[in-house]
Symmetry: D2
Subunit: 382 residues, 4 copies
């Protein structure tokens, strides 16, 4: 008999939808001993929350997140609110003994993050941060190949996340839809929003980053703020690039921007080892580029693996070879791994928990500090 987890999701925006879909789909395509029940959707606008509940099958609606945490019938809370509220909600959840699934980045900065890690460790609640891209079959395949030591010594890692959606000067900042452009709410710009994804995968696949030299830029200096209607300084980073060194001796470059005309969501990584290299691109997320130096010289080339066979990670739970999965399955995989870990806590934890996410936060902090001081900065380690 499956153990039911009554879940409340706080926030019904883009991430609320992506996570909700994942809770349902993970239970359609995978089997677990634990079962998630969509108990409460919480949002400030009651009408919107009710419509969301109707569409997705939530039992109840709440408009105040504090009420949610007070409810005894809630076992787990998913925090899909803007970044500046993660800490407060998470601390309340930990105190109330609720499991927490928190949208990334963990917090506004490492100081907040440390407090959150301390709280979940003190209360012992299961916790996850939605670094969802780990769970695409091609990305997991890459992780497994590296973890098996197949690459030999790693020389290089590179990753970027390029978008172009904020180039127009007419785009306002702040408010419900555009809080990602307001540093007070978001903490930072592309660093926390996009580079955090690059860094999480990098740390998961290639280990700790030890030092960074970074550069940020804000191309449009002032934008109208949606809440005040006034033109105010833009305080986020529109673009960020850094060079760095990993614990394992490899060197690396990272770049993110919302000003790379032509790229909607170009998220890539590449890792070069003595014996093999791997590369991936979110725009063609089912494929892993694979170079094996062990192949005879005249047959060597980058192989394009369509990770949709039964022996690719997760793929066998869906369709048949050659058929693509979409973006949403990254979240489905996150739920699957979270439930698997509840089923068997002794198994490898493949999702990012608060502590992992704090490690990523420390890199983001070092990057922002380096950009400010124009010095190499050592990364604090978890």
């Amino acid at each position: 008999m499956a153990k039911t987890i009554n879940l409340a999701v706080i926030g019904y925006g883009f991430m609320g939808k992506a996570h909700t879909n994942a809770y349902l789909q993970a239970q359609h395509f995978f089997k677990h001993d634990h079962k998630i029940n969509l108990k409460v959707i919480c949002g400030r606008n009651e009408e919107n929350a009710k419509a969301f509940a109707e569409t997705w099958g939530y039992d109840d609606v709440e408009t105040d997140w504090r009420k949610v945490i007070e409810r005894d019938d809630i076992d787990a809370v998913d925090i899909c609110t803007p970044n500046n509220s993660h800490r407060e909600i998470a601390l309340a959840c930990a105190k109330a003994g609720k499991m927490i699934l928190c949208e990334k980045p963990l917090a506004l900065d490492g100081t907040e993050g440390e407090e959150m890690v301390a709280a979940v460790e003190a209360s012992g609640v299961p916790n996850l941060v939605w670094y969802n891209y780990r769970f695409l079959p091609a990305v997991t395949h890459a992780k497994n190949i590296v973890a098996a030591g197949e690459l030999g010594q790693v020389f290089h890692y590179r990753s970027n996340f390029l978008q172009d959606w904020t180039i127009s000067e007419d785009l306002p900042q702040g408010g419900a839809a555009l809080w990602r452009l307001d540093a007070k709410t978001a903490g930072s710009g592309v660093t926390g929003d996009l580079l955090a994804h690059c860094i999480d995968l990098a740390r998961w696949i290639n280990g700790d980053i030890v030092s960074v030299s970074a550069m940020t830029e804000t191309f449009i200096k002032e934008r109208v703020h949606q809440e005040t209607g006034e033109k105010t300084a833009v305080t986020i980073d529109d673009a960020c690039a850094f060079i760095c060194r990993f614990e394992n001796g490899s060197t690396s470059i990272f770049e993110s921007t919302r000003y790379a005309r032509g790229h909607k969501a170009l998220f890539t990584f590449e890792i070069n080892g003595r014996d093999k290299s791997l590369a991936w691109d979110l725009h063609d997320l089912n494929r892993l580029d694979y170079f094996d130096h062990g192949v005879p010289s005249d047959r060597r080339g980058w192989s394009n693996i369509h990770c949709s066979d039964g022996d690719h990670p997760y793929a066998g739970n869906f369709w048949v070879p050659g058929l693509c999965l979409g973006y949403e399955h990254s979240f489905v995989g996150a739920v699957h791994e979270f439930l698997s870990h509840l089923d068997d806590p002794s198994a490898e934890k493949r999702f990012a928990d608060f502590k992992d996410a704090l490690g990523t936060q420390y890199v983001c902090d070092a990057v922002l500090e380096s950009a400010k001081t124009k010095q190499w900065v050592d990364v604090k380690r978890v």
Copy 2:
């Protein structure tokens, strides 16, 4: 208040799963006046059917499809059984006044198909055949561009569907999982299974095919039959290729095989007009290749459109620009269009109904006859 359609799905295999997922997801991501209720899953193995019902949320289980049709509480039936049962079940449904959503191909041949079309026309029940690929954003985008006349005179259309999963001589034929290799159950091999998809899209996008010259081949002549354990003649076509002419004067080649080593599910089409050309590939299903001769000569090239923006078909109902949809959304779109047509029968019917599918069946029949007689064959027209 949404009008509820109580649905029974007959068959819980690959297609039963894909369709069931689509019924749920279409209602998560689109709004309609009609609502589908997963009432009954029907399959011969009760235990399996119960497990499927549990996973996907069906109210009831049946093990005999005739019982399903006798039930008054069923409004619509989805036929996911092997091809040789489509006719009988569909005729029964039509007689009982149930809406029908039938897996493709419509029937074993045109004669069966004609009887089925006559039945649904006589009873007036809404009917759909699951030619699902129409509803991927990139494919619909292509259809719309052609329908708007942007290509000018069309010169060529080409399409193929290449797989490699039956190359091993050790693969048996027949039985539950491998009925597609047995002509008695499947009607034909790649022609009905794969080329039918190519033909449906071709007819939808480029109009009627008027005559064909075809060639089929069966590379492995005998395989063990799962039901008897004996080695018997393979009667399906392992591969089929044909040249043809369309009503609009364009010339065309089609090819399908399960012996193209290296291709899991390479399904492509390309259309060349005087002013523009378009191309698409299922392995990268979010992209449409687009060539516009109106661009100045030194800037002309094939543009790779990632059909994930809000103004691409269907894409705005899912995520944000740059994020991929998967194979399953082709079925989601089919359900969405079926419900939209129930909501407003005066709107353009964008899915294939029985009559459309009969047109595709006629092309398949002509192809198989041409391969047998080694003559050009005129295609019967609906």
Copy 3:
């Protein structure tokens, strides 16, 4: 001491330039016992011929090809004239004991071709037809892999050559630059011009074609003729597609057109065997796509081999790994192989001689006859 071959090239158009360049470059990048001396360029316009001689270093100029053949100081003749003159010039060369390097296609049809083969066989002169694409490193690499039996049983071969340069109705036919649009001069349209290249590679790599079913189309029925200024019927095939069977049991499709908007010179082939598949594209001519089914399932993918390493065919004679060769090197390789065969006639003949080219001509003839009669046609064999 190198044996000097005094060469005359008849025709200074596109092919005259490509061949001349190849004679020089083959001797810069390869070593041979025979040396080609650019003795005579022959063209009807003396001024143009002199300018060409000056640019490329020819010793002499002639304006009448018959004079060239009468000269005792000429050892070899390169025929770069329109197709309807190949037979006459080649017969004269054979009679005069000159080596012949003839532009493809060999002749207007098989009857002419048979006469030409008989003539060179009677006189014993070395002879080559410029099926140049064999000698690109990636193409030769493919040939060698297939010849080594690595593919196992071959199931499929497909090839096309798509262009878009004759779509405009305003393009005239005939005359110096556009004789390829006039069947009297060219023999046929895309069949002899483009499909002949596809067929030569197919026969070289995959063996004899035994029967074909073809379709041709002429989209623009009348064009102004440059020589008369009058609008006359277009008699060439603008497009041609055929299905066929090879001696080795594989099935195949071929297509060529000058009406595929967006393709300048898309020339591709793909071959699928039980164990491996190979694919190539002239637009990226340095690459060979390679699929090896022997690789473990989760690592299998199409490998993209950049054939520019020292152990790829010919590549070591040029630059260093990763650096591209261009189109012109296909001709350079042809000259290299011709000279190598003169150096050592016992070595494998890797270029197409008149007899090979007659085999290709027979396929073209069968294709055109099939398109006319709408019947399958057996291919005559050399």
Copy 4:
């Protein structure tokens, strides 16, 4: 009547061959008022030099470069020797009033470079540095599009040059073939060898670089030296990455390495402007990726321009649309532009002269200094 330039090339290695080929081919495919005569090839091994002269058509052979410069019959000298000899030879040439075509990088460092620039400016001799990649049609096309202001404000530039040929620990350093691994001869590792190419294109296309933060790494610390047979410290940079800012406000990342397994010569750049973006890759050198934001949203994509039409730079001088050029044409274009500038010194100088190359040298120097000091370094400007 063409003015003849008697040329001496010093060094018959890889670059001696590439340049010699370019002198001949530039005169086959382009017309100029000046004509280059291959007068002298100079190399220390007389036998090798003679063989080279025979193959390529040099009149004379010399074994001491000083003799070459003493000859009155030499008008121009091409310096193809290792980097540590460029300065001395160039100074001698300038003093002797010879035109100079010097292999890149200009010098071991900026101090040497300044002396060389002063020398050529004092003597007034025409001078060129072989930053050859500017002259590939796709690269020149990119330069022209940017120069026309079509991109609007530029936000980002990124470039890398990745190789994998020095990963083996068994590879020695120094000596004739491997002087690039010895800092005494080469000045630096990938910075001067590979990044110098990236930087030249970046400065040509996007303007001056003002400051850099860099990181270098030497993965294999000791290698046997070919000249001594002893294992000695490797003093070059195996890998180098840097972030930087351009004069025009754009931010940028550069990376180069010889340890990126799977990349033979992956040389790419991408530039993102407000209105357009461009990208290029040496492995597919005929293509320019082009994104035009002015295209309607649902038709926008990266266009892949095959720069082989008559209206693409240089392409009309070679073959017909769709046919590829190779690596060697980058050098051909350099010679063409050098001769064009001699023909008409008032025309735009499109090649890098000593002063341009000094600008690139300054960036390299700043990069190496930054890597050493771990500080941002301002770039000295020419």
